[in-house]
Symmetry: C2
Subunit: 409 residues, 2 copies
């Protein structure tokens, strides 16, 4: 017998019939001899409905009250799932985030988990019940309701798995797992059987949208083995685990694509200490989230700084930077929409050269212009025109033979 | 400055616009120099929607999970009202039942309040905030979510008023107060300025529907002065207070009417100890709620026992009693729908005779047959045909001159 944490997202519990399906699945898992803790999100649409209500009573709802409001979404789901499990003849107990012992800091709407005291969870597990925990929420030491922000339910599941020493955390979602590339772009993309936390982090932060980086980081930190799989079929999913020696052979695990990006370039920035800091402090103060930053060597005492960001944040970035450009004595501010980022990710990349050359060569062969390049130990990312992103993904996927699985040496 | 508890029911907070109206009202009260604690119900329709969801996942949802589910309704309202108050420039803090320190026993879906520790409420009041508390809910000592059952939000308000020593508890509802009779039946019925707890109890338990008896009993026990008034206008309401010496002069305060009743008669019950107990124990075990019971003197060693109940409970009562009739050796079981109860209520009745005579005389004059009679110290109730209930109410109202206010001597 092993101890499993299963997490079901909003789509998986989106209506009473789907809740009954999840109940069946949870019961099957328990009857196969496992202890089961199930973490659930709000039913899809519920959170958006609550946010709309909030904006109908206030133009800028307080974050404390927003948390009190949104926490009702998951509380509704835990009760309904527990009832559905009871109705199918097994025994379930629901716990809110507070009841499950999830203690957070006091930063409303994006709280961090400070610690988990899983006394209630363990008590009900010992008692033979399926334990249903509300994802996305916790409470402060002082008893304030908090929510964990985007991807919060995944984080709840991973953190509980760590706290109770679960053998596996299963993240049930509407996709079969993590693929070598988005199958909507590259139809012959393959589901990956496994990947390392580091690779998953690059995939997650690069728009593969399966999970938020913070949950993956948490899993990595506490060594929580987790699986991403579908709640709508019985297919095995993708296991995300610690790096193993054999993984070193995997040069490219997959390709991640992020559309709807924008690029901002500040030209003629005086090449002196503090200029870049002024630019990015201003953006940070305006809560503009930046992705890639590229600065090349200085020519004639000035340099150009470029960065990418989500297209939706572009107006805020431009408004923030116009006065800064003058303040630092730069020449001009240029921006461009309609770009996308394509990244190749693989743990073995750090010990194998030639990946960059092969990537650039295949894109060049396809007539696709590379506008920016950025690399990490296990990733090479390029910025290209959004219009050519599917062609680029197909070319790269084929060039590394990913239709047969990871590119190994 | 005084300390007020205001309670707003589901209709009063039924949509965002009404929530904003309540926010304005609460702020006006605070700006007039009062400390304000506001207790709210779930928005109208929300609780029914949740109950329907529950029945879509389970034919018989567990009461524990029902409480977890239903408690989200009031939690939603407290957050929205706090946001609306903030948006209008005042400061509000929402508290769930648990946060407000409302500790109950563990009887899910109909918990009793065990005690209230109003530390958080007092802290935020001291801090100058309007405190918004979720009605209808609490938690057990062990941290389980509970709900208080029907009329629970009124009870929350009265209990908090008692716990914090409020000067007044205002129950805002969709009617202007308590009337001498239901104005839909008797158009010239008058709103009462005040009545005693005892009178309100008789009115409440007799279908005036403004409040549940348990809240009135709680208020009486702890001496909480409360006012029933409308949330849709600025009219003063009805004050419910301790009996005063001058109230002794009030023979009839008002008339209460309860429709949709049914009557069951068991004829030929052997006149021996325990026969009645067998009948009513069986009904109690089947959770059938009984109203009036009448048994007349024995003739030829047998007697007839009659009782009234809500028409909806009649099928359950009949099914329960059929075997009991045989077991006690009674002759027959008869039942009748289409009856109603009319009661005249007044504190001075106990020291003044002639009320019964006047009531029976005016009904007789109207050709209205009295099927059963039951009296208490401050009430005379008669069972009549439902079809003649409006005529009876009008006749009685006029006979006691209630269009000018209470009938005094």
């Amino acid at each position: 017998m092993s101890l499993l944490v299963q997490k079901y997202g909003g789509t998986s519990v989106g209506n009473p019939e789907r809740i009954r399906n999840v109940a069946r699945r949870v019961i099957e898992t328990q009857r196969a001899g496992h202890g089961v803790v199930t973490v659930v999100s709000a039913m899809s649409g519920v959170t958006d409905g609550l946010i709309q209500l909030a904006h109908e009573v206030s133009p800028s709802p307080s974050e404390r009250e927003m948390d009190v409001l949104l926490a009702t979404g998951e509380q509704t789901t835990i009760a309904l799932l527990a009832m559905a499990i009871d109705a199918l003849g097994a025994r379930a107990v629901s716990l809110t985030g507070a009841q499950a012992g999830i203690v957070t800091d006091g930063v409303h709407t994006r709280a961090k988990i400070a610690n988990i005291t899983p006394k209630q969870i363990l008590h009900h597990l010992d008692d033979g019940a399926v334990v249903i925990v509300a994802g996305f929420q916790g409470q402060t030491m002082a008893g304030q309701v908090t929510t964990l922000g985007r991807g919060g339910s995944d984080l709840t599941a991973i953190a509980i798995a760590a706290a109770i020493g679960a053998d596996l955390c299963q993240i049930f979602t509407d996709v079969d797992g993590v693929y070598t590339c988005d199958p909507r772009l590259v139809p012959n993309a393959r589901r990956l059987d496994e990947l390392s936390y580091e690779e998953m982090l690059e995939m997650a932060s690069l728009g593969s949208k399966v999970m938020q980086s913070r949950s993956v980081e948490f899993a990595k930190k506490f060594g929580v083995k987790f699986e991403v799989r579908s709640s709508f079929n019985e297919n095995p999913g993708t296991m995300i685990i610690d790096e193993t020696p054999s993984m070193e052979n995997v040069v490219i695990r997959g390709i991640s694509v992020e559309k709807s990006q924008a690029k901002v370039t500040i030209t003629g920035v005086p090449d002196r200490p503090g200029a870049a800091a002024q630019v990015f402090s201003a953006l940070s103060a305006a809560h503009v989230v930046i992705d890639m930053i590229v600065q090349n060597v200085s020519v004639h005492g000035t340099t150009d700084i470029s960065f990418t960001l989500n297209r939706a944040d572009l107006p805020a970035a431009e408004a923030t930077l116009r006065p800064v450009v003058d303040a630092v004595g730069a020449a001009a501010l240029n921006s461009r929409e309609g770009i996308a980022k394509l990244s190749v990710v693989g743990i073995g990349m750090r010990s194998h050269s030639g990946v960059a050359a092969r990537l650039f060569e295949c894109l060049g062969r396809g007539g696709i212009n590379i506008q920016m390049i950025s690399t990490s130990e296990i990733k090479i990312a390029v910025i290209i025109d959004e219009a050519s992103v599917q062609a680029a993904a197909k070319l790269t996927h084929a060039s590394f033979g990913l239709e047969h699985g990871p590119y190994t040496v």
